[in-house]
């Protein structure tokens, strides 16, 4: 004999109301408690829900519709794998446009307040938009002047809605790849906090995460000039970066180092006649994140964990700090998971990891 916590009639009534969508939240909680504690009630609930759903309209899809879905699927995948990636990029871009719109409202208000209080100043003020790319995501945008910008995970970019005056200036926290539209008169300036990068029309990558010890600029083509943002310093010289060079600004030393990027000698001698001929841009082969390829280029475990946190949106905790000095190399496709990366590391290094929702704890094995 089963004993009902609820009277049978009351239970039936609750279930029916739940199915019709007229049961209030308080009563839903009672229903949930009842079915969690009473097997008979759970059975009744599940069976009635099953029948209710099964007898509803539109539960089943028509064969023709199903076929149609397959055609869509085919278009996205079989024909061109890339279009799929683009599609998802477009989607992300749209979400960020929404964010941007929110910020426009915010800045718009600030702008109006400022204009009211400064009554008759005729200076034209440009409105700034801010794009925030969360961890685990990447995005791209095109500025009013035609400059294309790819934004890596965990990045903030502040940019004017349109460029006014004699410079084009954006503010970057995080990593971005720029393809700057050419303009001989108006330089394009990336303000990376402690350092400023000024260009006329080139392609380059800037990495400026607040928590990193350095700011890196890699030039793919064209010419850029760099300067520390140390205004009081009269010795603040300008540095010129050539293609395939990397500028590293070391925050603690307030100094810029310039290094040449070297071509990696492939291990396999047999297949390197292609590389010895026309040299593909070394810099471009290092900056791969915008192709959705995660490149680990002889980096320390500490740097890699930061990179992985941003790339995949996980938090990584390292239990044994002796691991941090190990270095790794590797390339991972956009569809490879963080676990595959960790498994690859595990091949050469004795680590183990424990996953708890969005946190990964790594320890020595």
């Amino acid at each position: 004999m089963s004993i009902y916590f609820m009277k049978k009639e009351e239970l039936e009534n609750f279930i029916l109301m739940y199915l019709e969508g007229t049961l209030d939240d308080e009563k839903k909680a009672i229903l949930l408690k009842e079915i969690s504690e009473n097997k008979e009630s759970a059975k009744l609930f599940l069976e009635l829900k099953f029948i209710w759903d099964s007898s509803g309209k539109d539960l089943f899809i028509k064969e023709a519709e199903s076929k149609n879905e397959f055609e869509k699927f085919k278009k996205n995948t079989f024909a061109d794998k890339r279009s799929l990636i683009q599609e998802s990029k477009k989607l992300r871009y749209n979400t960020f446009l929404k964010y941007a719109a929110i910020f426009i409202v915010g800045f718009g208000l600030a702008y109006i307040v400022a204009k009211l209080s400064l009554s008759k100043s005729h200076q034209e003020v440009s409105m700034f938009n801010m794009i925030i790319v969360p961890k685990g995501q990447r995005s791209q945008l095109v500025l009013a002047d035609g400059t294309k910008i790819w934004l890596n995970s965990d990045t903030k970019l502040k940019y004017p809605e349109k460029f006014i005056g004699n410079s084009r200036k954006v503010f970057l926290d995080g990593e971005a790849y720029f393809e700057v539209a050419k303009s001989k008169k108006i330089p394009f300036i990336v303000d990376a906090g402690k350092m400023e990068i000024s260009v006329m029309g080139t392609t380059f990558n800037v990495r400026n995460y607040p928590e990193d010890k350095k700011i890196e600029t890699i030039l793919i083509e064209g010419k850029v000039s760099l300067r520390t943002n140390d205004i009081g310093n009269k010795l603040n010289t300008e540095y010129i970066l050539k293609p395939n060079q990397k500028a590293t600004f070391i925050k603690s030393a307030n100094a810029i180092l310039i290094t040449d990027l070297k071509v990696e000698k492939p291990d396999n001698k047999g297949s390197d006649n292609a590389t010895s001929g026309k040299s593909e841009s070394v810099a471009a082969s290092i900056v791969t994140w915008k192709e959705e390829v995660l490149n680990i280029d002889n980096e320390s475990f500490l740097d890699i964990t930061r990179k992985l946190e941003r790339w995949y949106g996980y938090e990584i905790k390292i239990k044994d700090t002796t691991l941090l000095k190990n270095r790794f190399k590797g390339r991972f496709d956009h569809h490879e998971t963080i676990f595959q990366v960790l498994d690859a590391i595990r091949v050469s290094t004795p680590i183990k990891y424990i996953v708890n929702e969005k946190t990964i704890t790594i320890d020595k094995r």
């Binding site: 039936e12 009534n13 029916l16 739940y18 019709e20 969508g21 007229t22 939240d25 839903k28 909680a29 229903l31 949930l32 079915i35 969690s36 599940l46 069976e47 009635l48 829900k49 099953f50 029948i51 209710w52 759903d53 099964s54 007898s55 509803g56 309209k57 539109d58 539960l59 089943f60 899809i61 064969e63 199903s66 076929k67 879905e69 397959f70 869509k72 699927f73 085919k74 996205n76 995948t77 079989f78 799929l84 569809h335």
Partner: protein, 187 residues
């Protein structure tokens, strides 16, 4: 039609478009019907199932991980449903925390292969339609207004000039009758 799992692994590994089509056609409508039990907005359910197949397609190179294609697809669909409901994106329904828990409770139930098989039974819709025709006329009218036109008991009561209590009794009786008639699908 049921494709054996070994064959599916071969198909996916071989990167064979035609064969993938077979998988899609075998499971698409089933997964859709499954998702529709939890996702009220039809368009969203459609997109959600598309994502399930895109995931499968993107995974095809490392398919060793997939032992049983059907459970793999079910798990994917369950997760997609949960994520979707948690994100509160359904245009047709607002989900409270309690709603989420009830749905999770229900989704957890759909785990044993046998239950899932029944859920997928191709004859289910046919049998439901047949059983509805066997109901007494009044119950038939009421259940159709409820399940096809989506009216609540209150609305049906008004329309048919019956008391709400009577309508509820009819719906309940009809559901019970269907439940008895569809027993082989429930267990």
């Amino acid at each position: 039609m049921k494709i054996s799992d070994t064959k599916i692994n071969d198909i996916l590994k071989a990167n064979d478009n035609f064969a993938f089509e077979q998988i899609f056609k075998t499971y698409h409508s089933k997964l859709f019907a499954f998702a529709r039990r939890f996702v009220k907005d039809k368009e969203s359910a459609r997109q959600l199932i598309m994502d399930v197949f895109l995931n499968l397609w993107n995974q095809h190179e490392k398919i060793e991980l997939i032992n049983n294609i059907e459970s793999y697809l079910i798990v994917c669909t369950r997760n997609q449903c949960l994520n979707y409901i948690r994100s509160k994106k359904d245009k047709l329904k607002y989900y409270s925390e309690t709603d989420l828990k009830l749905i999770e409770y229900e989704l957890n139930y759909y785990q044993s292969p046998q239950i899932i098989d029944n859920l997928f039974a191709e004859k289910l819709q046919e049998e439901i339609d047949k059983a509805i025709l066997k109901l007494p006329p009044q119950q038939q009218t009421v259940i159709k207004l409820s399940r096809i036109d989506g009216l609540t008991s209150g609305e049906i009561a008004q329309k048919l000039e019956l008391s709400k209590r009577t309508v509820e009794t009819h719906i309940y009786a009809a559901l019970k009758f269907l439940k008895e008639n569809l027993k082989p699908f429930i267990y």
